[in-house]
């Protein structure tokens, strides 16, 4: 037995950082122990890249501007799609913690109020970065290249992960608003199909009917996919393409982070 210690907890914002980091550790350490999560994280992006490149690539490649291969077109888009889908685990993870009583456990400890939320989103963001790197590696196998150089490539990954981070707050709000992990999974999933398919992720928007083009053009997923393509193909983005993506990324956090925090306080 050791003598009782009087641990010193950090205060203020340092406390949120300290507690969030420990809770993020908790989520990350489980990653290799959760086969289904690992599958979604690693196998699914690999499968999607291979399927789309070899099954659809032949026909869709025809409608692309000359000189751009389908792999060049696909990888930035599929990165957005995969990262957006991967944020679903934020909803599932939080709903699961709620359902299993872990949130009660954490809320009965003298820790920062939003630490559970911050920890979850931080660990999920790390996971998103892992997914993005895997995607680029698989992309290189099927012919994708950072044409504009590695620097722009890294920026592409960072911007994509930032958008995923922002979408995680939407998922957190969903996860804290439903009864159980199963419902969270469904509620977090269904709307992602129209969001990611009515976009330029897989096909050029010009191949869609006129009315759908209007939606697809203004979809943040399209805006982001196009921006990422500029990063990988040309480097310096064209005027007016950065601001909308930045606005969506920041805007979603500004709206949903307070919503998620207020949901968390009420559970």
């Amino acid at each position: 037995m050791t003598a009782p210690t009087a641990p010193q907890r950090p205060r203020g914002p340092a406390a949120l950082f300290h507690d969030g980091a420990i809770l993020a550790w908790r989520n990350l350490v489980q990653l290799p122990r959760t086969p289904e999560l690992l599958l979604f994280t690693l196998i699914q992006p690999i499968m999607f890249v291979l399927l789309f490149t070899y099954v659809f690539g032949g026909s869709i490649g025809q409608s692309l501007p000359p000189g751009i291969s389908y792999a060049q077109f696909l990888i930035p888009g599929i990165m957005v799609q995969t990262l957006v889908f991967s944020t679903n685990s934020t909803a599932v993870g939080l709903a699961d913690d709620l359902q299993k009583g872990l949130v009660d456990r954490f809320r009965s400890l003298p820790i920062a109020r939003s630490a559970v939320l911050v920890g979850r989103i931080c660990s999920d963001t790390v996971r998103l970065a892992m997914v993005a790197v895997v995607l680029v590696l698989v992309g290189y196998v099927v012919g994708f290249r950072f044409e504009a150089g590695l620097g722009w490539g890294v920026l592409m990954i960072l911007v994509a992960v930032a958008f995923g981070f922002s979408m995680s707050w939407v998922m957190a709000t969903i996860g804290l608003s439903v009864r159980d992990a199963e419902t969270a999974s469904t509620a977090g999933f269904v709307w992602l199909f129209p969001l990611t398919f009515v976009s330029s992720v897989f096909v050029p928007v010009t191949s869609m009917p006129g009315w759908l083009q209007v939606i697809a053009r203004n979809n943040p997923v399209t805006l982001l996919s196009n921006l990422l393509r500029e990063f990988t193909l040309i480097g310096r983005p064209a005027a007016g393409t950065v601001l909308p993506v930045l606005a969506w990324t920041v805007g979603i956090v500004v709206v949903f982070a307070p919503l998620a925090v207020s949901r968390y306080r009420k559970v």
Binding site: M1, T2, P4, T5, P7, Q8, R9, P10, D19, I22, L23, W25, R26, V29, Q30, R33, T34, K100, G101, L102, D104, R105, F106, R107, S108, L109, P110, I111, A115, V267
Partner: protein, 323 residues
């Protein structure tokens, strides 16, 4: 000794459900209070308010003089909570669960390591400590859950239905562990729907039903309240039963019931043990062959029936509101 927990007129309503409807009690430092009641009585809601997980609609409660609403964060560093469903991370090992809470409480890595090992040993989990909790048995899960709530050496421990769903052996293990804690000076607030459990562990019992406190006292005091003791006499021959009952009735105005199946009669004797002796002597003198006799104290089940008009497993009770 002054009370470490003081609860004064706590109220929590969920829509139409009056989950807790004005509950008051106090718990002395270093004692065990049993909050006893059927499902849906408001036990869990009360504990959730005391553990700062729910804000009361009215009333107030203090722990070590700290208000559970205004001083919630300071209250949290004084309490430990072990819920009905083991709230530990199944995908972490037992050791990692303990370590994580130690770190969250502000211990450095070394101190958290040490505290984890200490608690694993104390709860006989040293061998299983490096396995994921999902591989644990029900009893082991409860033990690790309890261990996790003790990492910060809380002065007050809430045990919310600690043995619900456990097999008898694990239940007795949990009881032993709880007694040890009390031996160390921890104040325990235990909720249970098992009367036997309250009887075994609690110094004082608060009986709660439909969100209201309906009785309070030691187990003995509550038992006395139902009218005291019963004399049970088993006869060798069932033929003697009616005559024996007549003799007992002749001795005084006491309720006498017969059970022909067991050839037994029971007499309500209150606290008058001499009367019980008189009955036995009279039967024996009159040539009634007595096989066995004993003086029974009422069980807490009888107490609950007497207090509420229904048993502890009342299906008409409103469902427990957990969140």
């Amino acid at each position: 000794m002054s009370p470490i927990i003081e609860v004064d007129g706590l109220v929590k309503h969920f829509g139409e459900t009056r989950a807790v409807d004005g509950v008051s009690f106090a718990v002395e430092t270093g004692s065990v209070l049993g909050l006893l009641g059927p499902n849906g009585a408001g036990k869990t809601t009360t504990v959730r308010m005391l553990a700062t997980l729910l804000t009361p609609d009215a009333g107030r409660a203090t722990i070590e003089g700290l208000d559970v609403v205004a001083d919630a964060t300071r209250v949290r560093s004084v309490i430990g909570l072990t819920g009905q469903y083991a709230a530990v991370d199944e995908k972490l090992t037992g050791r990692e669960n303990l370590w994580m809470v130690g770190r969250l409480l502000g211990m450095d890595r070394g101190a958290a390591d040490e505290r984890a090992s200490e608690l694993l040993e104390r709860f006989r989990l040293s061998d299983a400590g490096d396995r994921q909790v999902r591989t644990y048995s029900g009893g082991m899960r409860r033990r690790v859950d309890l261990a996790v709530s003790l990492v910060g050496r809380p002065a007050v421990l809430f045990l919310d239905e600690p043995t619900t769903g456990l097999d008898p052996v694990s239940r007795i293990e949990m009881w032993d562990v709880t007694r040890e804690l009390v031996g160390d000076g921890t104040t325990v607030l235990l909720t249970t729907q098992y009367l036997e459990e309250a009887d075994e562990l609690a110094d004082r019992i608060v009986v709660i039903d439909h969100g209201l406190v309906i009785a309070e006292g030691t187990a003995d005091e509550l038992k006395d309240r139902t009218g005291g003791r019963t004399l049970e006499v088993e006869l060798t021959r069932a033929d003697d039963l009616e005559r024996a009952a007549g003799l007992a009735r002749g001795l005084g105005d006491r309720r006498v019931t017969v059970d022909p199946e067991r050839a037994a009669l029971s007499v309500d004797v209150g606290d008058d043990t001499e009367f019980a002796a008189e009955v036995v002597a009279r039967l024996s003198q009159s040539g009634v062959d007595i096989a066995d006799f004993r003086l029974d104290r009422p069980s807490l089940d009888d107490v609950f029936l007497a207090l509420t008009g229904h048993g502890t497993e009342d299906p008409t009770s409103s469902p427990e509101v957990a969140s």
